[in-house]
Symmetry: C2
Subunit: 338 residues, 2 copies
Amino acid sequence: MDGRTARDPAMTDVARLAGVSHQTVSRVLNDHPNVREQTRLRVRAAIAELGYRPNRAARALVTGRSQLLGVVAQNSALYGPASLLAAFEGAAAEAGFAVSVGSVGSLDRASVSAAVERHLDQRVAGIVVIAPVASANEALDHLHSAVPLVTVDGDPARSTALVTVDQVSGARAATRFLLDAGHSTVWHVSGPTQWFDSAGRIAGWRAELERAGAEVPPVIAADWTAAAGYRAGQVLSRMPDVTAVFAANDHLALGVLRALSERGRSVPGDVSLIGFDDVPEAAYFTPPLTTVRQDFDAVGRATLSLLLSQITSGEPSSQRRTVAPELVVRDSVAPPPA
Amino acid sequence: MDGRTARDPAMTDVARLAGVSHQTVSRVLNDHPNVREQTRLRVRAAIAELGYRPNRAARALVTGRSQLLGVVAQNSALYGPASLLAAFEGAAAEAGFAVSVGSVGSLDRASVSAAVERHLDQRVAGIVVIAPVASANEALDHLHSAVPLVTVDGDPARSTALVTVDQVSGARAATRFLLDAGHSTVWHVSGPTQWFDSAGRIAGWRAELERAGAEVPPVIAADWTAAAGYRAGQVLSRMPDVTAVFAANDHLALGVLRALSERGRSVPGDVSLIGFDDVPEAAYFTPPLTTVRQDFDAVGRATLSLLLSQITSGEPSSQRRTVAPELVVRDSVAPPPA
DNA sequence: TCTGATTCTGTGAGCGCTAACAGCTCGCCC
DNA sequence: GGGCGAGCTGTTAGCGCTCACAGAATCAGA
């Protein structure tokens, strides 16, 4: 029939088929009022018949706005960032936005800057940066661009829009639970100390110990891995007076568990243990782990809402949203041995 | 100085500043030959001075190609998909492509179709679908579009370009290792049976048992969660003659471990156990888990390379790439009890 | 000096869309 | 019947870029 290369149908093709002008097609597509119902239906039919898809590039060119949101995250294979990304993407899709990811190998200024620049090159309508350490935040200081920006787990001392989980209250709940079980004090295996999350958890733990008048043992600094938890656990397991440990996340707790069990110290018989995150496997540790759940879904939705409000208003904001964590009680806590 | 609204600099602004035509700027940007070195430098300087960024929308409009790749994945918070996404994104960024994600709540045809359509709406240059079950593959049958497409973990019986991990050989290696340790047979806790990965692991396990002339016990079907592993473990732990178990992933293995330990059956003293995936925590299970590592980095890179070859050649292909898994030996396997 | 190839640079059109405005069709009121 | 406003539809320009082509500059060889 038609020897020419098949070209995607354009708005004018739809217009021709429906017997209207391309502008009317545009109006139907953008839900403008002032289109006769009958015309609207005719246009819709033509769109369906041709399998027409509006060309986003053309629209973006003329409006100067894209329907793309960028996310910058470090290791998006970790449980936290991965969950957050999934939640954010789901919410964004509902709002008609696509989400472009920019993972970054490390959180230093240069890497984060580069990832942000890449998104800027794509002319995203807004950017989310998961910026859990100071250097990642500093990378956002010298942005020449005025794109709407939201940081997640970012620096509380900064003025960008920010969504965080209330680490302090989560840590206090965990510590209090251990204290209430009768332990005279609680040891803490922390995440990397440069992380704001770590700092928050340390602060909450310390505050709760102080409130209870308990001794504050030194922080055992680790990173987020089970391997570091294991090393911390080896230290802890040699100290007979340690009866309660609060680990800064569940994987750390798993490593601690392993080290404790290697030295024959039982959990919760000899030592009580609490984690953070509530990864899906935590209920199947031996013993099932009491932990603090972070609601990443809520974080994702809050992030989108902050971003959209900046996009639609056209003005930067420095709103904050805080999501409350929740203690999930399982079997890794008991009163201290007599 | 200038009261007008600041507008992003366009190519003509650069051209004016450099004293050349916009076309020459375009040539410099696209690394065309036939631009005098001196001119090139002048243009580069003007670009830097203005902080000019080419407008992707305009370029995409005229070339008909975008620099965006779409990925469709189910639950991208799971270890496998999340790792894969991170690896793929890294490789894509190096090649100058941005990656847009489209998570999908379930892998049925309609959901996958919708996610693909969303990417098509964005006019992505290529699509990756992580399609581990038949329904997800069927969603790709009736695509009217000719976008380059690669499936990961997809249906081996289909003709789309496909990247997979060799599940059969991984499962054989695990089973053989257990057999070689002296076990008379090996039980298998499988993933959801509709998954190709599950089928491959079952096939490899069965093949190896048959090769060894060992009895083939019934498959214990589960899903990928620790909870399901726990339930399977409860069954297994009641059968005193079970001495070796191959779980279809590490989280399943964790659940099995938990159930076994609850009934006082020790691993590896009474029962030997092997998992699949090698999640970072597997080395810190109690006992450290012997498992089969999947190289998601390699999968991500292979996926990108298959996709790019289709994009640059302009022709669909049905190439295959298979990544070999690797047995990681730790402490969860021992000879059967006497 | 001229010719012709070679290298470099500029001009014009048009990608598909939206925004602004112009125009046409009604029905209603004076 | 003329005028008018409201509702609907069409026309035109232009977003920032690349492609095709035309034109200028340079250089080698005759």
